[in-house]
């Protein structure tokens, strides 16, 4: 139970960062932290204490019951790639925003309002 709570805390740290930070780069990092928390959570869902990786090896008899669930790991791989894309996109946007406004401070980047 503790690990899930810690995961949830990490998620909250990410959301807190996105909401309160004023620097574009810190916001991007916070969104990354939020992503790590979810990936960790999903891997934990597939984890069993004392189990082994889900690969059948020649001459070593292992039953599928002893293995961790491999599907969450596949999901997390996909979601890591997606997150990489999102982060790259956000960084590219931050660079272009810096070119336009000469600042990373979101309180100064506000031509849109209302």
């Amino acid at each position: 139970m503790t690990v899930y709570l810690l995961c949830f805390t990490l998620l909250l740290v990410g959301i807190y960062g996105i909401i309160t930070k004023r620097d574009l780069v810190r916001i991007i990092i916070s969104s990354g932290i939020m992503g790590y928390a979810v990936n960790l959570l999903i891997v934990l869902f597939g984890y069993k204490n004392g189990s082994i990786y889900a690969i059948f090896i020649k001459d070593t008899p292992v039953s599928p019951q002893m293995m961790v669930d491999p599907l969450p790991q596949a999901l997390v791989l996909t979601s890591i790639v997606i997150e990489l894309g999102t982060t790259a996109m956000l960084v590219a946007l931050a660079v272009r925003l810096f070119e336009k406004y000469q600042t990373f401070d979101i309180t100064k980047i506000r031509r849109l309002s209302g």
Partner: protein, 491 residues
């Protein structure tokens, strides 16, 4: 066998465009228009030949609960049709508009990726697959919002991307918990397993998905990103975003999850009704204060999505019918209004309603079609918006909720008020503003005319004989709690 083509055709087109396009965008235009026309033909064929069945395609021939499946029933086929038709008009409008703005093949490649993502979300029958397609759509959308390379556009795109990443994270948490609870990711299997589980599990999963996809549908407490993103994008993209993207990613997924998978739980319907009504009123009031035409339209989208959510939340046959009908109507007239805004921007170089004038003389087609769209969206007979809003209001009265019916009627009056404002101050003001001749091309005009005709034509969907073959099968799919499971597994 035709299901994979809904994803293959636009994805392949995007790929080929990046390969063969040179300095000019001619090939990109031709290829993407051919692709979208074939999508229109495919989706119409799919909808016509469906007859209440569900077509299931198993990817790589892995059977349903294990492999990833694509599943198209009446609701999905109908959504595919809306996406294809709006995408076609949007492309027709784009050709001249984008040459005016910043001509490049990149626009068409990203546009086809946007269509790929939306088609994928609609056609898939697998939860994680749906998440991946949502991300594809959003990637294309972020870059298209920033396409004009102005400071405001980057700002809007950044906001949109941050909100998108928060909502995707929530959705991913929901997917993780769903998998932990049900050990499967196929939607139909999830529905089957959840029936035997503690109802609390469904409530938790549903709450997280409501927040995640509610953010994408821009229901009221989650709406903050929409006005910026939809008003900063190029006009044809605004039409795609407001017209179909928030419906495919938001409303469609909510319908699929909450009605077909979770089986229409009363407490979520109650939440839908309340959030829908709040969206109608607050979106309407915020729209009334805007002078930027596209921003006004974006707030109006929030308000109109509220009607769809309200109709769904009522949970009765009539309410869902109204919601589905309003969904297609809103796709048509909101896209048309964004094209109008785009053509005004091309002609006058501004989106401020106060700086426009003599539109009726300078741009007769824009002025006329905007009149039709405004009348439709404010619910004036005989246009389509009148019938869908009427059905939703009658459904609310029949469901024993006269207060919500009254509030929906008030929302309709507010809508009328701010479109009167658009017509009075924007299109028929006394200002005389010089306009060059012939800035609006044939493609732009024909896109507007097609949608204006559709505004009138879709109101025949309500005539009983036609309704029974078009809207009723869709409502049947949504209202049938166990039909989705049995159709997918072929029992």
């Amino acid at each position: 066998m035709i299901l994979p083509f809904f994803i293959i055709i636009p994805l392949l087109t995007a790929f080929i465009i990046t390969l063969i396009a040179g300095e000019r965008d001619n090939w990109a235009v031709i290829l993407s228009i051919i692709a979208v026309i074939s999508l229109v033909a495919l989706s119409v064929f799919c909808f016509v030949t469906l007859n209440g069945r569900t077509i299931v395609y198993e990817m790589s021939n892995w059977k349903a609960p294990i492999g990833i499946i694509l599943a198209v029933d009446a609701l999905s086929a109908f959504m595919l049709m809306i996406v294809a038709v709006i995408a076609l008009t949007s492309l027709m409008f784009s050709v001249h508009y984008i040459r005016h703005l910043a001509p490049s093949w990149k626009y068409y490649a990203l546009f086809m990726l946007l269509v790929t993502g939306m088609n994928g979300v609609i056609a898939t029958g697998d939860l994680f697959n749906m998440f991946v397609f949502v991300e594809i759509t959003l990637f294309a959308a972020y870059s298209l919002v920033a396409y004009g390379c102005k400071a405001e556009e980057f700002e809007a795109s950044f906001k949109y991307a941050i909100m998108g990443s928060i909502s995707s994270t929530l959705v991913l948490v929901g997917i993780g918990i769903t998998y932990a609870a049900t050990s499967t990711l196929t939607l139909a299997k999830i529905a089957e397993v959840l029936q035997q589980k503690d109802p609390m599990v469904t409530l938790w999963i549903g709450g997280i998905f409501l927040a995640g996809f509610g953010l994408k549908a821009a229901i009221m407490p989650f709406h903050a990103w929409l006005p910026d993103a939809h008003s900063s994008a190029p006009a044809p993209i605004s039409a795609m975003l407001s017209g179909v993207l928030i419906k495919a990613l938001g409303v469609y997924v909510l319908i699929r999850l909450f009605f077909n998978v979770f089986g229409g739980i009363t407490i979520f319907n109650e939440v839908f009704v309340i959030l829908g009504t709040i969206s109608i009123l607050v979106g309407g009031f915020l729209a009334m204060g805007q002078w930027d035409f596209k921003r006004l339209l974006a707030y109006s989208s929030i308000s109109q999505i509220g009607y769809i959510i309200l109709g769904l939340g009522l949970g009765t046959w009539l309410g869902v019918l109204g919601a589905v009908f309003h969904l297609v109507n809103h796709a048509i007239f909101k896209s048309l209004l964004f094209y109008n805004a785009g053509s005004l921007e091309t002609a006058f170089g501004t989106r401020d309603l106060r700086k426009m004038g003599n539109v009726a003389k300078a741009l007769p087609i824009t002025s006329f079609t905007s009149m039709i769209a405004s009348l439709s969206i404010s619910g004036v007979p005989p246009f389509n918006g009148f019938f869908s809003k009427l059905i939703i209001i009658i459904a609310a009265i029949q469901a024993g909720r006269p207060v919500y019916a009254f509030l929906a009627a008030v929302g309709s009056l507010i809508t009328l008020a701010y479109y009167m404002k658009v017509q009075r101050f924007g299109f028929h003001s006394r200002n005389i503003v010089p306009v060059e001749k012939d800035v609006i091309s044939f493609g732009m005009n024909s896109a507007m005319i097609i949608l204006a005709v559709l505004c009138l034509a879709t109101s025949v969907l309500i005539i009983p004989g036609i309704r029974e073959v078009t809207l009723d099968p869709i409502v049947a799919v949504i209202m049938n709690k166990t039909g989705y499971i049995s159709q997918i597994f072929g029992r």
